[in-house]
């Protein structure tokens, strides 16, 4: 039975290995495609149990961070579980139809995945074209988009998932909660925001990890991350990374613009 042989691909060792990385997924379909490719399973015969489990493990991490994106990911999770349970039920043929070919419960999902993959590939081709104002230039072409961006150095900004990845590394260093501890220190995000701003004061840039050095309780770390994200949203800091999986730097955006004015 293909389901059982494919399931052997997903033993505990593999689970530990894949937990190391969280990549940038644009949505549940991108995540599912990634899991299918990574496990080298046939897209037309997806091992639902194993893929659903890995999918839900990713969601756990995302939920721990309280990311908004989890909404659509949850809808897909319930779809996966529905398909999985449908496949466990005996298939009832409708005698009225006199047709014992029943559509695989996975069929619609497979269609969506293939469609999605095709458009994602198309988008990669689009980006590979000679883009105006990036690869080729014409006389005096100023589109609205380029007006909006002020001149800046060209450090690439990083994706949220790389931040998640860094956060996981920090969390992994934190000790497991101890059970005898009673009561909790209340660390507010507001406090962490002002702490971080103070910490960044007068510094060119600090490493992402440094912002979590104050304590290693989960509460502190989570509050710190939320503070970083909030500051980023308010455009008070900027988060940069020079290379994939490289160091993540946090810069004080406010100070930087003040400097520019003084120059």
């Amino acid at each position: 039975m293909p389901e059982s042989t494919q399931s052997q691909l997903f033993d505990e060792k593999d689970n530990i290995a894949y937990q190391v990385r969280i990549e940038a997924f644009e949505g549940p379909l991108a995540l599912l495609l990634h899991l299918i490719k990574k496990n080298e399973v046939d897209i037309y015969n997806i091992p639902m149990a194993a893929i659903s489990r890995q999918y839900l493990d990713y969601l756990d991490v995302m939920q721990e961070l309280n990311l908004d994106v989890a909404g659509e990911f949850l809808v897909m999770a319930s779809t996966l579980i529905q398909i999985k349970s449908q496949m466990l039920l005996p298939q009832i043929t409708d005698p009225a139809l006199d047709d014992d070919r029943i559509e695989d419960p996975r069929a619609e999902l497979v269609r969506r995945l293939l469609d999605y993959e095709r458009y994602r590939d198309a988008s990669i081709l689009l980006a590979a074209r000679d883009v105006l104002e990036r690869d080729v230039f014409a006389r005096n072409f100023v589109s609205a988009e380029f007006d909006a961006f002020p001149a800046e150095e060209t450090l690439p900004e990083i994706e949220i998932f790389e931040l998640v990845d860094a956060f996981r590394r920090i969390l992994a260093k934190a000790p497991r909660e101890s059970f005898h501890e009673v009561g909790s220190e209340n660390i507010s995000i507001a406090d962490r925001i002002s702490d971080i701003l103070e910490f960044l004061q007068g510094k060119e840039a600090v490493e992402f990890e440094e912002l979590f050095a104050g304590s290693n309780t989960r509460e502190y770390i989570v509050a710190s991350l939320l503070a970083v994200l909030e500051l980023c949203r308010l455009r008070m800091i900027r988060i940069l990374q020079f290379e994939t999986y490289g160091r993540i730097l946090v810069k004080n955006a406010v100070i930087q613009s003040a400097d520019t004015v003084m120059e």
């Binding site: 949505g27 590939d121 081709l125 689009l126 074209r129 961006f149």
Partner: protein, 191 residues
């Protein structure tokens, strides 16, 4: 007037204008010359740029002709510009690709294909004038339908929508490097 003179006139117009100029438009401007002569002039200019090792080329884009710098000199030209080169997020590109191939379509159709809420991205693409609202679909709720713009073709160096790679080409490409989804895409040199 001889062909060489017409060529110089057409070239001067194409040099000055800051948007792609269609053949029709050039013919309206140069009403005293024949359409065939103008077409030949354009071909001659295109050929000159390609043969004489020039830094610019005459490209067909968004239904017209425009002088553009050659892609290999992008690094040098960027020194002139204050702005960062255009950067599109994968989400924005995905949404653009779906609209480009499936237009006209509604937000709900885009979101079904992508599996995620796309309201924010649609708004930003509208702001950048890469897509536009074409009208309303005649179904309950009368949802808005979206399509790409001339700016989209200008930005992505497309002669017209038909010159997008076909979905079959994309599938073939996907099959050839399906083992490595990160592989760089060898395309678009073929033109």
């Amino acid at each position: 007037m001889n062909a060489a003179a017409i060529k110089k006139i057409v070239e001067s117009i194409l040099f000055v204008v800051d948007t792609p100029l269609s053949l029709d438009r050039i013919c309206t401007i140069l009403e005293e010359f024949g359409r065939d002569d103008i077409r030949m002039a354009i071909d001659a200019i295109t050929n000159d740029c390609n043969c004489q090792e020039r830094g610019i080329e005459l490209v067909q884009v968004a239904g017209g002709y425009q002088f553009r710098s050659r892609p290999e000199f992008a690094d040098y030209i960027r020194r002139l510009k204050k702005a960062k080169p255009a950067r599109f997020t994968p989400s924005a590109l995905e949404t653009l690709a779906i609209i480009a191939y499936r237009q006209p379509l509604t937000r709900a159709e885009i979101e079904y294909l992508r599996g995620v809420d796309s309201g924010g991205i649609l708004k930003s693409l509208l702001d950048k004038k890469l897509i536009r609202i074409i009208g309303k679909k005649d179904i309950p709720g009368k949802p808005l339908i979206y399509g790409t713009t001339r700016e989209f073709m200008e930005t992505f160096n497309l002669k017209d929508l038909a010159s997008l790679p076909t979905l079959r080409e994309i599938e073939e490409l996907a099959e050839s490097d399906s083992d490595d989804e990160q592989a760089p895409l060898p395309l678009l040199e073929a033109e």
